[in-house]
């Protein structure tokens, strides 16, 4: 959680490949820890425990994700480089591969089945490379970067309440059961779902189940490894998040604490008992205080829209092990009325109806929301600056979704986007001719495979957004 990288990572083997091809012109520099010549990657010095090796890897043609096979290796008598390549467990870290004017760091994961392979896991530009550009990491905090801790809390306790059910009184789903390839009628078309796409796995978490459980401790298979992720949804504030389930390198699950801040879910982690504000996406009390979870982009939309986007999506079922009247919304007319369930800050900010769904973004102290209904029919794309960040906002009123990404890409250039209609999940294209899906991934064009940088943004009810982020502006 909250692990900074030298520069932002990308996941495009194509870009790497393109860059690798440029290596034709560069002679192998023996002083480098690694060099690439055609499809041969040479690790001039690889440290494995206390031993050192020279290793030659060969790129496997058409592999996706990019993979290398072992060609040859020999043990070295000792270290000669200050910064050698490193194999720790099954992770191989290459600090620098010079490619043209640029230098990349690369992470490969060792996979023994089927056959010994090294799979590209992550890579990025080295900041100190000549001519390299460092795209700034987004400010991870919603609001103040340095909140004052008073009485053990990093937030004001004025609007902190015990909601009534008690810790785990609303039980999280810890063994979710999904329906694979559900038919269209599995859910009412207008029902909202929280959609997640990770690797090849696409899942939808319908509100009607989340309303009763609020947290799903789930696992996703990434590079053959089951990785914990926690999806949370607060029915009172209409906000959904997914966080990677590890805390200081330890797997972690979250539960419903029974507490609310500004009527919004407070989670607790089952490792340390720390409290985490869902909408602040930060621990606000306990041993993990101020820790920011690693976030995963989710898309909240209707089942109908999600099915059009990802017909292969799995659907979370109500086989939860709990006896709950899932067919009934648990909060009466709450989601359509102006009612408040608990006192919240700025409750008199009525610029929008309280339960209007907005997609909001925080950049430093600047906060801005985009009402979903204002996006109108079709797909709307907005290129603008929020705080010091160039963002692209994409949304649709009738298809009921909204998302915000940074327009600055890894090589520091800024793209201009325009809407793409009727091609869901493709929702926008840019001035370079790339097409991008709703998760901000280029699906065609020269940047295919690249991802737009995630921002501090999510969908919530208006009253909740303005309760947390006073002074927010509204896109009209």
């Amino acid at each position: 959680m909250n692990q900074a990288k030298p520069v932002s990572s990308g996941r495009s083997p194509i870009i790497l490949l393109a860059a690798l091809l440029a290596m034709f012109r560069i002679p192998a520099a023996l002083a480098q820890a690694a060099t690439l010549d055609n499809d041969i990657l040479t690790l001039h010095e690889l440290k494995v425990d206390s031993q050192y090796f020279v290793v030659e890897l060969q790129m496997i043609p058409s592999s996706e994700p990019l993979a290398f096979s072992l060609v040859d290796f020999a043990e070295l008598s000792g270290p000669s480089l200050e910064n050698p390549n490193l194999l720790t467990g099954n992770l191989l870290e290459i600090p620098a591969i010079p490619i043209g004017e640029l230098s990349y760091w690369v992470k490969l994961r060792l996979q023994e089945e089927p056959g010994l392979q090294l799979i590209l896991e992550d890579f990025g530009l080295n900041a100190d490379a000549p001519g390299g550009c460092v795209r700034p990491e987004p400010d991870a905090s919603h609001g103040s970067n340095n909140p004052q801790v008073v009485n053990g809390f990093s937030v004001s306790t004025e609007f902190l309440f015990d909601g009534g059910p008690g810790q785990d009184g609303i039980p999280s789903i810890d063994g979710p059961v999904f329906e694979g390839l559900p038919n269209k009628g599995a859910l009412d078309p207008d029902q909202l779902v929280v959609g997640v796409k990770m690797g090849d796995t696409v899942r939808a978490y319908p509100h009607y189940v989340l309303d009763w459980h609020e947290i799903v401790n789930d696992r996703y298979s990434l590079n053959g490894e089951a990785v914990r992720h926690t999806l949370s949804y607060c029915p009172l504030t209409g906000s959904a998040m997914m966080w990677k389930g590890d805390l200081d390198g330890q797997p972690v699950e979250f539960g419903v604490s029974g507490l609310l801040l500004n009527s919004n879910l407070i989670l607790y982690d089952r490792n340390t008992g720390s409290l985490w504000s869902q909408m602040l996406e930060q621990s606000i009390n306990g041993p993990s205080i101020l820790t920011i979870p690693e976030r995963v982009q989710v898309i909240e939309t209707t089942w109908e829209t999600w099915r059009i986007m990802y017909p292969q999506s799995e659907l979370l079922t109500s086989f939860t092990g709990y006896d709950r009247p899932y067919e009934t919304y648990p909060y009466g007319n709450f989601r359509t009325s102006e009612a408040l369930r608990f006192p919240v800050e700025n409750s008199d900010d009525r610029r929008l109806p309280r339960k209007d769904r907005v997609v909001g973004i925080n950049v430093g102290d600047t906060s801005r929301v985009y009402p979903i209904k204002n996006f109108g029919n079709g797909v709307t794309v907005i290129n603008e600056k929020v705080g010091d960040t160039d963002v692209v906002v994409v949304g649709s009123g009738n298809s009921n979704f909204g998302a915000v990404y940074s327009r600055q890409i890894e090589d520091c250039s800024t793209l201009e986007f325009s809407a793409v209609a009727d091609q869901l999940p493709v929702v926008m294209s840019d001035n370079e001719g790339n097409q991008w899906d709703i998760f901000g991934v280029a699906v065609s064009g020269p940047r295919i495979g690249q991802s737009l940088q995630k921002t501090n943004s999510y969908i919530a009810y208006w009253y909740a957004w303005t309760a947390f982020f006073a002074g927010t502006t509204i896109w009209e």
């Binding site: 309440f161 810790q167 009466g332 007319n333």
Partner: protein, 310 residues
């Protein structure tokens, strides 16, 4: 005299009935006050004190009328201690009062870290003026009493410190309420050793506490058959109907609050020579129809009461 009395009773009912039509639901987590209020018939100068300890288990998870499994193992209970008095201002007028001390407890047994919470403190108080135009005498087998009063929010309603508890875990409501009360006793014999008592108790909660919260209006109607076996021992069996409207915050209904309950209410009373009465009573749910999706509601309750008259 009878006609005037029944007009008064009818007026009281008319004040109550419009709210029945508007009624919604109830969480029933509030502390019951009526059971502990001393409404003994008093003559001028009579003074009664009673001390009631009532335990209230509120752990049934109910959807409408259907009880559903609560796999979380949630246990919720309240224990109230009530000191009540009744003083005869004249042969027809009396003043009743009630002071309470409340303890709430909540535990979620499935909770990962074992969640158990307790709150306690002074609860609400009640002050009521009663008028008894009709007494049971050798010449009349009817007794009628009418009362009017207020629930006074002198209790603690900010339990929890940094993290305030929800309203149902607070000892006091934090808001005043208006109370109307009526009771009719019918004696089946001249010695009044067998009586049928019908009562109605209505609390109107128009006022919000400082967190903009108002509990629902509450109507409790009961009928009890009481049999004196001898001069010391009597028993009672009754039915109690409760109808509570939804709680409100900022004027909006709070979901999953309010409803209707029908309980069986047995009681036993033993009188000692020295003027001390010991009363044991209980409440067993017969039927309930709760508003909203699900609610935790009363599983049972029982009370032990000691009454002393001067």
């Amino acid at each position: 005299m009878m006609t005037q009395t029944y007009r008064l009773a009818a007026l009281l009912l008319l004040m109550v009935l419009p709210d029945l039509a508007l009624a919604a639901t109830c969480s029933c987590a509030g502390t019951p006050l009526m059971g502990a209020l001393n409404t003994s018939t008093t003559e001028q100068g009579d003074l009664y004190f009673s001390l009631t300890s009532e335990f209230h288990e509120i752990s049934d998870l109910v959807q409408g009328r259907k009880q559903i499994d609560d796999e979380t193992g949630r246990e919720r209970s309240s224990l109230s201690q009530a000191l009540a008095f009744s003083y005869g201002l004249s042969d027809r007028w009396a003043l009743s009062g009630l002071f309470t001390y409340i303890e709430h407890e909540r535990e979620v047994r499935s909770s990962f870290f074992g969640s158990k919470q307790r709150t306690s403190g002074l609860g609400d108080s009640v002050l009521m003026l009663r008028y008894t135009p009709l007494y049971i005498t050798p010449f009349s087998r009817h007794e009628l009493s009418l009362g009017m009063g207020a629930r006074l929010p002198i209790g603690k309603d900010d339990a929890g410190g940094l993290i305030r508890f929800s309203e149902d875990m607070q000892p006091g409501t934090g808001a005043a309420g208006a109370i109307l009360w009526g009771q009719h006793r019918l004696a089946f014999n001249q010695a009044a050793t067998r009586t049928l008592t019908s009562s109605i108790f209505y609390t109107r909660n128009n006022w919000e506490n400082e967190r903009d919260y108002a509990f629902g209006h509450q109507l409790v109607a009961g009928v009890d058959f009481i049999q004196n076996l001898n001069t010391r021992f009597s028993y009672a069996a009754g039915l109690r109907y409760q109808h509570t409207t939804s709680d409100r915050r900022l004027g909006f209904e709070v979901p999953n609050t309010g409803g209707q309950w029908l309980d069986f209410t047995p009681a036993f009373n033993y009188s000692l020579d020295n003027g001390l009465d010991i009363n044991l009573s209980g409440r067993i749910p017969l039927d309930r129809k709760l508003d909203g999706a699900i609610q935790f509601t009363t599983s049972y309750s029982y009370a032990l009461s000691l009454t002393y008259g001067f």
